[in-house]
């Protein structure tokens, strides 16, 4: 179990992490979702030991690891740009950790060869060992980077936007493979990403990093259907967040959130009874294939989005620039206390 408590890290005037508490349980695929610049990479670098926190403690299985140099921490790190050794072959890259680590290096060449092949087989690269790094594709490099980290059997593996450098097709395939590989290894993965779909697809648990803190850490479906605060909801990119006052007195005060797919549109004054509603001007629509997204501007300027699934269309024909009533079931709204 990896535990971070009250961890802070500042760069001059900017605070990257601000008293962050975070737990990665054993044998879990943990996704960490955060916008770019939210301190995701900083968090990983603190855990791996490339940087030290200004305050707070990092421990693994109850043993404190902050202050230890990175090569003694026994934590795997898969870099966004893979960071393979350009002068070594695929097999030499993978064997590097076994052969050259400071603690308990493996000197038996036969064992090194066997474990290297085993590790390459695990990522589906059997027979690629003799290739030069420059002679394999991006997706294959990604796997080599993973094999190179896994072979050392670290206590936890950190993945820094591991799919960012791959094209969309390959990304979808690597998603499944990463999950499968982790299940075989039975070690915790901490996968950092800026994409909410990737975070929700991959994670057994998803944590949202915002404002230097973990604002929520939950199972993906729990997080998606009931974010516990505005920051978490905003990162999921599926919730309209607006002032309750826009719906009249019905919803009370404070900030509420309604999912894109749970808002309905009706002509002015035609909102069904019992449904809270607000008036908004239709701006434009966006066609995404299986879904269509419509954009509205509420009276106070808040941008609202409504998703329509093409197989079950529920929106009326709309004219750009005209106002409509947006309504939703009372239980579809999530109410947050405190300021947005």
């Amino acid at each position: 179990m990896l535990t971070l408590s009250r961890v802070s890290r500042r760069y001059g005037e900017t605070t990257a992490l601000d008293g962050l508490d975070f737990v990665v349980p054993e044998n879990t695929y943990m996704s960490l979702l955060g916008a770019s610049g939210s301190g995701k990479t900083t968090l990983l670098r603190l855990i791996a030991g490339f940087e030290e926190p200004d305050q707070g403690e990092i421990s693994i299985h109850g043993e404190r690891i902050d202050g230890q140099p990175p090569h003694l921490r026994d934590i795997g790190f898969v870099f966004q740009n893979f960071a393979l050794f350009p002068h070594l072959t695929v097999a030499q890259n993978v064997a590097y950790g076994l052969r050259h680590r400071a603690i308990a290096p493996v000197t038996n060449e036969k064992e090194i060869t066997e474990r290297t092949e085993e590790s390459l087989a695990l990522v589906g690269l059997s027979g690629f060992g003799h290739r030069a790094i420059s002679a394999i594709s991006g997706g294959q490099r990604q796997r080599v980077a993973l094999a190179r980290t896994m072979i050392c059997e670290p206590r936890v593996i950190l993945l820094d936007e591991p799919l960012g450098a791959l094209d969309a097709n390959l990304r979808a395939r690597m998603c499944d493979e990463l999950k499968a590989i982790r299940e075989r290894l039975k070690v915790s993965f901490l996968h950092v990403t800026g994409s909410e779909t990737e975070a929700l697809t991959m994670g057994d648990k998803v944590a949202v990093l915002s404002g230097g803190k973990i604002v929520q850490s939950d199972a993906p479906d729990t997080l998606f259907s009931s974010p516990s605060n505005v920051d978490a909801a905003r990162h999921l990119n599926a919730w309209n967040i607006f002032e309750a006052g826009l719906c009249g007195a019905a919803m009370g005060q404070g900030t509420i959130a309604v999912r894109f797919d749970q808002i309905d549109v009706s002509p002015k004054g035609k909102a069904p009874d019992g449904h809270p509603w607000l008036s908004a001007k239709y701006l434009t629509g966006e066609f995404n294939g299986p879904t269509a997204l419509s954009f509205f501007r509420a009276d106070d300027g808040t941008l609202l989005q409504v998703i329509d699934h093409l197989s079950q269309p529920r929106l009326p024909d709309m004219v750009e620039g005209q106002s409509y009533d947006l309504h939703f079931a009372p239980d579809a709204a999530r109410q947050f206390h405190g300021a947005a």
Partner: protein
């Protein structure tokens, strides 16, 4: 003539691709011409001339174009000249090793530990400060440093480490080695710094993360990746040291004779054929050294 036509004009005998290729070729030739002209006029031609003259007949104060191998025979049988080859090679090897030993750590510091690009450039510029003054002054400045009454001897005597001045410091092979190392070190630092600066920092972090200590990372990652820089630096230093004569002339008190010094003195006494032989031998040595260096590291692959 408003109708859109997809027909290409038929009178032209060249396709657009051919025309473009022709244009590209013409541009390449235009770019190469000045260099090629310069090289053939001032290098290839003189080089052929030198080889030719080395077979001319040398009389006391003149050469005539009767072909003979007499100069070569005399050169290759004279212990003075053969030992000059030995000295040249020895000085080259020691200076090369010294510039690597002194230059590599400096390059390692600038290229790897200074991550600020501006500071990196400033430090590299600082390395060439000695070149802001003339070659002669740089060399002669070693005399008050290394002489019997010089700074080093005075300090060592004041400290009581030695009782009388060290005489081997100046006007010896030692002072030539010191002088050359100082002058040529920067040509080693530059290329190595450049190669080290190109190493992706995350590659080094990856090696640390895999459990390697700094020593191991240096041996297995940093050194191999910077080797092309060492090789380019070595080629620079080798070419300059092998052809050296001025440092030896002003710091050795004429005790160290390099091939370069021999050529100068032979030309001075109008022994053209002989100087030509020494010149050809020197060129062969330099060519061999560069060929060897290029064999060790395949620059085409590494750069």
């Amino acid at each position: 003539m408003t109708a859109l036509s997809t027909d290409t004009p038929t009178q032209s005998t060249h396709s657009p691709a051919e025309l473009r290729e022709k244009k590209d070729r013409r541009r390449a030739i235009t770019l190469l011409t000045p260099g090629l002209l310069w090289m053939s006029l001032f290098m290839v031609l003189p080089m052929c001339m030198v080889i030719y003259v080395s077979f001319w007949t040398q009389t006391t104060f003149a050469v005539e174009s009767t072909l003979t191998t007499a100069s070569w025979e005399r050169f290759l049988s004279s212990s003075t000249y053969l030992s000059a080859i030995g000295t040249t090679l020895r000085v080259w090897a020691i200076v090369l090793a010294a510039t690597v030993v002194v230059g590599y750590p400096v390059a390692l510091f600038i290229g790897l530990f200074v991550r600020n690009k501006t500071l990196q450039t400033a430090l590299l510029v600082a390395c060439v400060i000695p070149f802001w003054t003339s070659f002669l002054i740089r060399v002669i400045a070693w005399r008050p440093m290394l002489g019997t009454e010089g700074a080093i001897n005075v300090i060592l005597m004041k400290l009581g480490i030695i009782s009388e001045p060290l005489t081997f410091l100046l006007f010896s092979e030692f002072s030539v080695l010191v002088g050359m190392t100082q002058i040529y070190c920067v040509f080693m630092v530059g290329p190595i710094t450049f190669m080290l600066g190109r190493i992706d920092p995350s590659v080094i972090e990856a090696a640390r993360d895999l459990g390697a200590s700094f020593g191991t990372i240096f041996r297995r990652i940093i050194l191999p990746l910077s080797l092309p820089g060492v090789m380019v630096g070595s080629i620079f230093v080798s070419v300059m040291v092998l052809g050296e004569l001025a440092t030896a002339a002003s710091l050795s008190g004429r005790k160290v004779n390099l091939l370069g010094n021999i050529i100068v003195s032979q030309v001075g006494s109008l022994k053209w054929a002989f100087a030509a032989v020494a010149g050809v031998v020197l060129t062969i040595i330099i060519t061999a050294v560069i060929a060897l260096a290029l064999r060790i590291v395949d620059l085409r692959k590494e750069m």
